[in-house]
């Protein structure tokens, strides 16, 4: 949209509003970004340095926040004293596995749902979407019982399957929107040109590929950031990063430096991925209701 700004004229009121808006924006940015900054900086602080606070009301004392000698020991201890290497791998496998399964089967289902009409389609659709929207704890109660009887609790396959409960409906729902946007005429032209139905389906895949790729990433993001499923279904053999980070909180001795470092390790990759697929993020986070 080249000219989306409606013309506006300067008045004293509008100037005052502009200043207020700028102020608000600045404050909000500080509020949003400060926690990241604190997390990042604290992950390089030694334990005692991290605990340093100025006296109450001593605003000039804020500088103590920056008085420290950077250390990487929290990061190294994550991998030496803890087995964060394994947890990263677990997170990757669980999130990646469920993302790949969800997107492969999801795109097949989304394509056919987009192209065929049958009685009860709306109901089927509602079932799919409500599966995605169901409260995680509520889903987990029966899932836990079932998985326990199948010996899936504490295993990566169990966790992958658990993540699929929200990723697969999500993929179907979003990808259907993608396929809806590909004109049927392109497949029809393919079929008249001499392709089979499956070849026609394959021929439009390149058109939706960027979207599908972005949604693989989004599915990974959702699964990577999950805590509840990982804490219950994955407990034992399939510990993921958020759970491992949480376990650093122990009643007597909270290792804040390590927790902050683990937070950085958990968050940084997702932040980067989020930036890569920024274009699709809004669509994804709003279940396709809002397209940017």
């Amino acid at each position: 949209m080249a000219s989306r700004d409606v013309v506006s004229y300067d008045t004293p009121l509008s100037r005052a509003l502009k200043v207020l808006a700028g102020l608000f924006l600045a404050l909000y940015l500080v509020w949003t970004l400060l926690p990241f900054f604190v997390m990042f900086v604290s992950s390089f602080k030694d334990l005692l340095e991290a605990f340093k606070l100025p006296a109450v009301g001593d605003w000039a004392g804020i500088t103590v926040f920056f008085e420290f000698t950077p250390t990487f020991k929290h990061y190294t201890s994550l991998f030496t004293e803890n087995s964060f290497g394994t947890y990263i791998l677990n997170s990757l496998i669980a999130a990646g596995g469920s993302a790949v399964i969800s997107v492969i089967f999801g795109s097949l289902a989304a394509y056919s749902l987009s192209r065929v009409d049958f009685r009860g389609k709306q109901d089927l659709f509602f079932w799919i979407i409500s599966t995605r929207m169901a409260p995680v704890v509520a889903v987990m109660v029966p899932l836990y019982a079932i998985f326990r009887s199948l010996d899936l609790v504490g295993t990566l396959p169990g966790l992958i399957l658990a993540y699929t409960t929200f990723n697969l409906p999500f993929a179907i729902w979003i990808l259907k929107g993608f396929f809806d946007n590909v004109p049927f005429a392109i497949e029809e032209a393919q079929m008249v040109d001499g392709s089979t139905r499956f070849q026609a389906f394959r021929s439009i895949l390149p058109l939706v590929a960027p979207g599908i790729g972005a949604f693989v990433v989004l599915c990974i993001l959702f699964a990577w950031n999950d805590f509840l499923f990982a804490a219950i279904i994955g407990s034992g053999g399939a510990k993921t990063l958020p759970v491992a980070t949480r376990e650093l909180v122990q009643p007597q001795n909270i290792q804040w430096g390590s927790i902050m470092a683990a937070g950085v390790v958990t968050t940084a990759p997702m932040m980067l991925l989020g930036l890569v697929i920024r274009k699709y993020l809004v669509t994804g986070l709003t279940m396709g209701a809002v397209k940017e």
Binding site: P183, A185, I186, E188, A189, Q190, M191, V192, D193, G194, S195, T196, R197, Q199, S203, P206, L207
Partner: protein, 364 residues
Amino acid sequence: MATVTIKNVWKYYGETPAVKDLNITCPDGSFVSILGPSGCGKSSTMRMLAGLEHISAGDILFDDQRINDLAPKDRDVAMVFENYALYPHKTVYENIANPLRLRKASEDTIKARVTGAAKLLEISHLLERRPHELSGGQKQRVAIGRAIVREPKLFLFDEPIAHLDAKLRAHMRGEIKHLQRTLGTTMIYVTHDQLEALSMADYIAVMHDGELQQWGTPAEIFNHPVNAWVAGFVGEPAMNFLTCDIKGQGDDVLLRHSNFEIPLLPGQVRQLNGAAQAGTARMGVRPDALSISMTRPDEAAMQGEIFVNELLGGDMLVEVQLDDCRIRVKTTPEFEGKPGENCFLSVNRDKWHVFDAGDGHAYF
């Protein structure tokens, strides 16, 4: 090359019939246009021919082969879609080559055919571009290129030039017609534009509400419409209709309107065949079968008041208030009447039509 026979074909969408008992035979090598307003069933018909829609009832035959149950790929037809349906991620070359690749033609054949088709359509310089880099007219040529590269039995064109601007459309009409004559392949061309149908087709099938109204050559459709609907739909500016009484007077039969009384020609009396004696009928006359003058030319002339003049370049269209209705007359730009002035109209009786007042079928 094939004769296409559509036999008692119906298309239902749920409980709604879109095509009703359609019967058409397109002779081998002919250019057939299916003409009708949107929603008349013409596109459904074409899609049934291509195999993109299920044929609810009836049969379609290519030569003598029933093709109802063949998949599109096995029908050996080529289709040009209304919005071109080019593959956006492939080059023009690959777009045109696609049907050949799907048929596993050799690379040499593909190259020869694609360059041949591109040359015929004058798009040789565009082969490396992608569809989004092309103008509407160029996209349309690529879509046609994809259709002709394979030398199919039958061409299906679904309003291929509807999205082009008026000038380009006029140009493409000639090109498509020439192309079809050159290739000699049977062509079925769907359009809602009566001018396209009249100017290009060997035969026109006029459809309305899912039913075939009339089948004939463009001249037959234009000069002898079978009913008032076809008469009103074909021809621009549209035909004027006036409700008249039919009155016998001695040996003559008169068409009487509050404004005039004009006798039918003797042959027309016979065609009327007493059917509508002393009833009402609808007189139809095209704007160019009327002439206008500022002085009364003869006793039978209609008298009216000029309502508005429209200069259309080489012609002038005059709208005349005739008692309680208005009719349009085509005349020359030299015509000097002004709105509000009285004028006189006379009818070329060889070119007028009389339709039944009830069901609208044509007496002549």
